[in-house]
């Protein structure tokens, strides 16, 4: 790796390790000091390595410099040292004896402790995701703003507020005790799940940034798996879900960053290794008697790694959605369940059920109805697609709906040509109108 590439690379991989250890050392009160020391370390590296060339072991160099800078800081800030010396986790008699432990074990432990602090429910989910990217993944406010499609100031304020909240709530950077773990883990998993979804489902056109978000979410989830203490069935289920989803990452995005629908994906582009990994962790997740929503979503994602449209596949997916909805209702799960119902039980059943869902402000609801009525009542299908089109702002959704409408329209024209039942004037008018 060239030096110009090496520093950004090391910044990505090592910054967060160094800073986690320092966060844990200084406590939540003083996270800026930890950040300053870690940043200064990289600044020095970029200056010196440019002049003198690369050290033999760049990572070890960074660790040594970070340790020395920390010791210097403590030495030269006696007031600070007096104030925080009680809080310093390493109970050294004087700051000279403070050992800054950058071993793999302590790095992992520190990162894990930080995950729990960052994903503390005292902050709203959105702020937790921002904090995770900032404090655990080393993303700047600018990068986070890009990911969230918002401006830097909004994110900066959100991060400041969230950090302040951690301070005022006196959140400790430590792994929760055994009795507390089951209570705290769901919030952590939810944040990691949302972080992953932010990358996976975002309409952001910056594909490499989206991929980064997914990878970071997987890396943090994997940290929980690596630690015996947090390696719970639901964590394995979540990781399995992430593996199955990301196996389709390349296949579901076109060159312009737009979405390619499942039916249209080239299954050869699915990542077989990740699918295998997903299966492996799905198996592990079945140890124990816990059935989380991640288990069910992972199992659904598993069935979607089988492209063939078999009855068995859709029956399984339907039953998984039935269970998922009992654990937690969401409009998207309700819509997907109805789609699976159509595949498993037939369109007639699905139409009856769909009309009960009453999600009249959701364009996907009308897209579903359009899909279900296709070949059953094409004129009605077209009306529903039209309604869907009027409700969405997303360009890729508009393209998809437009394609579906064209298909339905050609079916309608075909049937009028053959002298089949005439279609109503209002529909004729729609046919002549260009949908997109």
């Amino acid at each position: 790796m060239k030096q110009t590439e090496l520093i950004p690379h090391l910044f990505r991989t090592e910054y967060r390790k160094i800073v986690s250890v320092l966060y844990k050392l200084f406590g939540i009160e003083h996270i800026e000091i930890a950040e300053d020391i870690a940043s200064d370390t990289f600044l020095l590296a970029s200056e010196l390595w440019g002049l003198k060339g690369l050290p033999e072991n760049p990572t070890a160099w960074l660790y040594t410099v970070a340790k020395n800078k920390t010791k210097d800081y403590l030495k030269h800030n006696s007031i600070f040292t007096q104030k925080i010396s009680k809080e310093i986790k390493y109970s050294a008699a004087t700051f000279h004896e403070i050992e800054i432990d950058l071993s793999t074990q302590n790095i992992n432990d520190s990162q894990l402790a930080m995950i729990f602090a960052v994903c503390h429910p005292c902050n709203p989910a959105e702020a937790q995701i921002g904090l995770a990217l900032n404090l655990l993944c080393g993303f700047s406010a600018t990068e986070i703003a890009k990911a969230f499609l918002t401006n830097k100031e909004v994110i900066y304020k959100r991060l400041q507020r969230a950090k302040e909240k951690l301070r005022t709530e006196k959140i400790k950077i430590e792994q929760p005790g055994l009795s507390e773990l089951n209570e705290r883990l769901p919030a952590v998993l939810l944040t990691l799940y949302l972080l992953f979804n932010e990358g996976y489902y975002s309409s952001n056109q910056d594909v490499s940034l989206r991929k980064d978000l997914c990878l970071e979410a997987m890396r943090l989830t994997y940290l929980l798996i690596e630690n015996n203490y947090t390696n719970k069935p639901a964590v394995n289920a979540l990781f399995s879900l992430m593996c199955f989803h990301s196996s389709r990452f390349e296949a579901r995005i076109n060159e312009e960053g737009g979405a390619i629908l499942y039916e249209d994906q080239d299954a050869n582009l699915w990542d077989k290794e990740l699918i295998k990994k997903g299966e492996y962790y799905l198996n592990l997740s079945s140890k124990g008697d816990e059935l989380s929503k991640y288990h069910l979503e992972a199992a659904i994602a598993y069935w979607h790694t089988h492209k063939e449209d078999t009855k068995q596949k859709w029956e399984n997916i339907l039953q998984l959605y039935n269970q998922l909805l009992q654990i937690e209702y969401s409009p998207i799960a309700a819509l997907n369940r109805t789609f699976a119902l159509a595949k498993a039980n037939g369109k007639k059943d699905a139409i009856t059920e769909a009309e009960k869902l009453n999600l009249t402000d959701n364009h996907l609801y009308y897209s579903l109805l359009g899909n279900l009525y296709t070949d059953v009542d094409n004129a009605k299908a077209l009306e529903y697609y039209q309604k869907a089109l009027s409700l969405t702002n997303s360009n890729s959704d508009k393209v998809t709906i437009g394609k579906n409408m064209e298909e339905v329209m050609s079916k309608l024209l075909e049937s009028t040509k053959r002298g089949k039942p005439a279609i109503s004037p209002s529909v004729k008018q729609q046919i002549t109108r260009n949908p997109v």
Binding site: N322, L325, Q326, A333, N345
Partner: protein, 99 residues
Amino acid sequence: MPNASPDEMQAMTKRWMDWIGGIAAQNKLGDRGNRLFPSGKVVKPGNIITDGPYSEIKESIGGYSIVKANSLEEATELAKGCPGLTNGGTVEVREISEM
């Protein structure tokens, strides 16, 4: 269904799951509830305990589910899909009177 074959049992389970899933998909499921074994004990005044309830009355309660609805009519609509109706059962719809 004492004499049902495994396939019939599976088909029946599916009907129940699809019904409950359909209610959950409308965000109207309160609690899936439980099935009840057909027989148990009946306690009467005067420390009289009998087997039952089938020996005393023709009908016994097979199970219960809790739904969320704005009216008794809406809840009744949900009950119409109950698979128990297809094998001679009935569904009673009652409002919970909170204590």
